[in-house]
Symmetry: C2
Subunit: 238 residues, 2 copies
């Protein structure tokens, strides 16, 4: 567990929201461009802590002395952890709205307790294969549980865009987000990084607005990269 914030959510359906993060370790994927590889490749091993829900709520509160109003659970893939259900219950009884993102490879019953759930299947550039049956099952169970969620696909190239169109077509009624990928994870010069990010975002916007086939879609950058660059952690106040 890594706990940080308050900061601002940089992506997806709650972009811009002031939030605190809890990041879980471990992932069943190995995306080529993963920006959180330290959660699963061993390099973040020393940061891994086992914590009880009450302890986590306490640390989240200690970040700025106020109880958390909004908490984002991120990873790795938090859906590997059945025991997150207890944390989610504790966060909600502390008064927090809970957001979570996962790639849609695994189901947990506590998905039904997430206020702002994003399923983010990984496009071809990640090097991963989508388990469509698992994704369909998750969407079905969320629909049956009356739970709203959004879909998000990170886009690096044309093949990713074709893949994303396929996802949107499979789930036409689910709010759909395209996110410009950051393929300059190594770039340390912030002005250069900003220009590169802007070029990627502009390209994606232009492709989507020029194609009448793209309907009912959001196109977003990864805002936190614009602000904080390629730093491992966004903001840490401990």
């Amino acid at each position: 567990m890594e706990i940080f914030g308050p900061t601002v959510q940089g992506e997806g359906m709650v972009i811009g929201k002031k939030t605190r993060f809890v990041r879980t370790a471990g992932c069943d994927y190995r995306c080529s461009w993963c920006d959180s590889a330290f959660t699963w490749d061993g390099t973040g091993k020393d940061d891994i802590r086992l914590m009880h829900p009450e302890e986590i709520v306490r640390e989240l509160t200690a970040l700025d002395g106020s109880p958390p109003d909004h908490v984002t659970l991120s990873g790795g893939n938090p859906a590997l952890l059945p025991q997150l259900g207890a944390l989610i219950a504790a966060l909600r009884s502390a008064g927090a709205v809970v957001a979570l993102e996962t790639q849609g490879s695994k189901w947990q019953d506590w998905f039904l307790d997430i206020d702002e759930l994003t399923i983010s299947p990984k496009p071809p550039s990640s090097g991963m294969e989508t388990d469509w049956a698992a994704l369909e099952r998750i969407a079905l169970r969320l629909a049956q549980g009356g739970r709203h969620f959004s879909l998000k696909v990170v886009i690096f190239d044309e093949a990713d865009l074709v893949y994303a169109a396929g996802v949107h077509l499979r789930f036409p009624s689910i709010p759909f987000y395209l996110q410009a990928g950051n393929d300059h994870l190594g770039e340390k010069d912030r002005t250069q990084l900003l220009k590169d990010l802007l070029v990627r975002y502009e390209w994606l916007v232009e492709r989507v607005v020029a194609d009448a086939g793209w309907r009912d879609v959001h196109v977003l950058p990864q805002l936190h990269t614009w602000i904080w660059g390629n730093k491992k952690r966004r903001i840490r106040r401990q």
Copy 2:
């Protein structure tokens, strides 16, 4: 009326959404930093056209040959026009989701028919005075009509931030957005503009995350300025 798009919404609760714009002429305000002054200061006079709802839907469709899925009504202050009700009805029967932003100085009954309504009261830096009674009345009528909406305040300085905190406090249950203002309307050098915009946005984020009093809030840039700079029109395809 000015009709353009498809483009991407750069602000507020529907940031990133692919949309088409209809911009109305005329405003009851004269904000010092208005980026749409051409709608009311006479410089855009030759662009003003009187159009029937069906004609507007036809033009919106002609933009890329597909019926509009999402339309943003902007201004000026569109709330000056009682006759927009007929346009909104026509857009919705054409299958479009309708978004609209207004400063909250005037009520129209068609507010109740807007899917994504943003009320954006103007802070001290605008030079305008807020009519709090009018704003309260609008919020009350929207609540009575069961209509969700969001509040957005553009921030240029500390006094604006104090003002925004007051608005948030008056309407604590309404989704609240802070937007970094662009005080470089004259800047033509895009790299310089980009740096300035980033500094403004970073400042706003830092102020909000460092202050435990700011709860349940979104902090966003004006994305379209990052992409298209200070051009009068975002994207025009006609």
